[in-house]
Structure formats: structure tokens, C-alpha cells
Symmetry: C2
């Protein structure tokens, strides 16, 4: 194209690499950046490299943190030290924190067992979880992986490993989502909702 600007094309390429961003949105973002105040663009560039540089996994629960030692949840002595909630990734920690209903600790697996993608149990932080359970006075482990094939099988696999420690292992309830519509619920979800029905 006659009107190609290398610095702009490079920026469009970077934006287009983000998940769910196509060439059109990427070029909209890039033109927006050109109109931004110079100090805001520098702050954006710094935020990018700072985040990548400062944020690392908590050595205890493998949640993401920028603190020097363990993450803010592990460091919080007010939290229930006898319960661990096992999740797939750090975003799931945030989702559960937003409910303000859970006050225990977390353990982030950073993936799910998925033989199709070549991910076995040894690539996840399962061994660390077993060590935590063995070394601490843990009473309950909540398996909060997604209700998908990979999530379910990972939960069952880890559950079997934990049972011998004499710890209660629970699983998130599956059913019709609040505000959902029975008409549009899929068969398996409805089946699970029926199966897990509670007395009123």
C-alpha cells in the first residue's frame, strides 16, 4: 500500500495479537494512541513493561502477585487457614473474590489436565497442593475448576489424591444460572440441576 507507516503498522500488529482483537479494532486502537497525550502513552508503555516485570506467582498458592514474598491472600491472617479453593487460573481467583462469600485460601493450578493438548498432571501445581495439605491443618478443599470435561476430570483426579489425607473435598454446584431460563438451558445442565435439587 502506498500509505504504509512502519511505526503505525508495528503498533497495529501488537494490538492485533491480543485475544479477540481483529485488524480493524487494532488499527482503531493504534489511531487512538496517536491522539493520546504523550505522557499517557508513556504511562501505558511503562504499565506494560512494569506488569510483565513485577508480577510473578506467589510461591505458596501460585496466584499472581507483585509483592516480594507471598500474595496478599496468603499473607492475610484474618482468612480461614483451614480451607483451600482450587482454581484453574488467577482470573478465577478474582471471580470468586468478587462474591465476597469465600474467606479461605486459594491454590491456582495454572491449567487443567487435558491429554488432547498434551497437558498432564505433572505440568500443573498439583504436587505443591498435596504438600500444602500434608504440612498444614487443612479441613476442606473446594474444587472450583470449570464445569467442563477438562475441569471435571481434573477435579476428580485431584479429589482422589486428596481423599487419603482425610480432608473433606467439595465441588462447586452445577445447575441453572440465576436469571437463566429453563427453556434455553442445555440438557446436561438441567439434569445436573435436577440431580442436585435442594429442599426448600
Amino acid at each position: 500500500m502506498a500509505n504504509s507507516i512502519p511505526s503505525l503498522d508495528r503498533l497495529v500488529d501488537c494490538f492485533a495479537a491480543l485475544p479477540g482483537v481483529g485488524r480493524k479494532s487494532a488499527s482503531r486502537f493504534a489511531y487512538y494512541v496517536l491522539d493520546m497525550k504523550e505522557e499517557d502513552v508513556i504511562a501505558f508503555a511503562d504499565a506494560l513493561s512494569d506488569a510483565r516485570h513485577n508480577i510473578h506467582q506467589c510461591p505458596v498458592c501460585h496466584n499472581l502477585t507483585d509483592s516480594e514474598t507471598c500474595c496478599s491472600i496468603c499473607a492475610d491472617e484474618q482468612r480461614d487457614q483451614t480451607t483451600i479453593c482450587v482454581v484453574e487460573n488467577a482470573r478465577d481467583v478474582n471471580s470468586i473474590e468478587r462474591t465476597h462469600e469465600y474467606h479461605g485460601l486459594y491454590h491456582v493450578l495454572h491449567g487443567l489436565i487435558s491429554p488432547m493438548d498434551g497437558i498432564g498432571p505433572e505440568q500443573l501445581f498439583i504436587k505443591d497442593l498435596l504438600h500444602r495439605i500434608a504440612d498444614n491443618d487443612i479441613k476442606e478443599v473446594i474444587m472450583a475448576t470449570n464445569p467442563t470435561v477438562e475441569g471435571e476430570s481434573t477435579a476428580v483426579y485431584i479429589g482422589k489424591l486428596i481423599k487419603p489425607f482425610g480432608v473433606k473435598v467439595t465441588r462447586l454446584a452445577t445447575g441453572v444460572p440465576v436469571g437463566g431460563n429453563l427453556e434455553y438451558a442445555d440438557d446436561i445442565t438441567l439434569f445436573k440441576a435436577l440431580e442436585g435439587r435442594n429442599e426448600l
Copy 2:
């Protein structure tokens, strides 16, 4: 929230400032950046500051460029030096270039006359356009602003200023878009399409 990570929050804020990006997408982008290779993140940060720093307006047509003198289109002597296409912004230059049908020069207004937003003719590069027409042998000026109220009125306004130079002033055709459906075309578009009908 117990699990807040300042460096991550800052990055999410930056992404959320982009047009059409909400908090959820912004946080998805931020977590994606944490998983990127360190050198890719540095390249992204550099692309941001480089683009903002290197790209400026061409002194002739006000298109965006990173070259030291005028933009690649103004510098290209193969192009038709007697036709100027007037557009609202630099993105429109790219849209027209993609047709491979236009081989003349451009003039970027960087906005449209819009009294509602407090934008008058003196804030656009209209004076520069008149100087270009006066100083060069221009035969045709194509008004390629959007077919909106602001676009139309800006085109009419500039057209009136140019006419005295004895230059042909044309306007992009309005009508039903290719692949469109008469059933879903709005009344004004259909009216314009009828009005501008061509002999087969």
C-alpha cells in the same frame, strides 16, 4: 478487594481507556500480556512510544506519516498531481487507498465542521487546502467526507470556497451499499439512490 495487584490494575486501566474496550476485555488483555514473552512485551511498549513519538502530520496534506519530510503519497510523483481528495481523517485515506482506484493526492481535514461540538472551519485545515489549490494546477477536488449531517455540511461549505478557483468539485456517490438489501435500507439512503440513478 483482597486480591488487588497495583501493577496489574494500572495496565487494566490503560487498556480500558481504548475505544470500545470494557473492564472485562481490558482485564483479559492484561492477563494475556502477563503470559507473553518478555521480549514481546518490551516490543509492544516500544511500539507504543515509537508510534506516538515518530508519527506526525505531513506538512502538505496533513495525512499521518513517520517520514522526515512529506508523506509517501505527496512524495510519489507517479500520482495524479491535479486531483485532491478531501477526507475527514487519516483512517479514511487508508480506506480509499484500499480500493486501488484512486491515484491522486489527499487532504486530511482532521475533523468536520460541527457547531454542536464547538468545531468551526478555522479548527480544520481548510485554509491550507485553499492555498494548495491556489498554488498548484488542481483540476478536481473530490469531497470524500462521510455522508452524515456534519460530513455533508462540511463538503458543501468547502465546495463553496473552492468554486471561485474554477476547479471541478465532486462528491462521493451515496446509495445502497453493494451486497445490501433494499428492505433494510433507510428511507434517505433509498431516496438518494433513486435520485442518483444511472442509465444501464
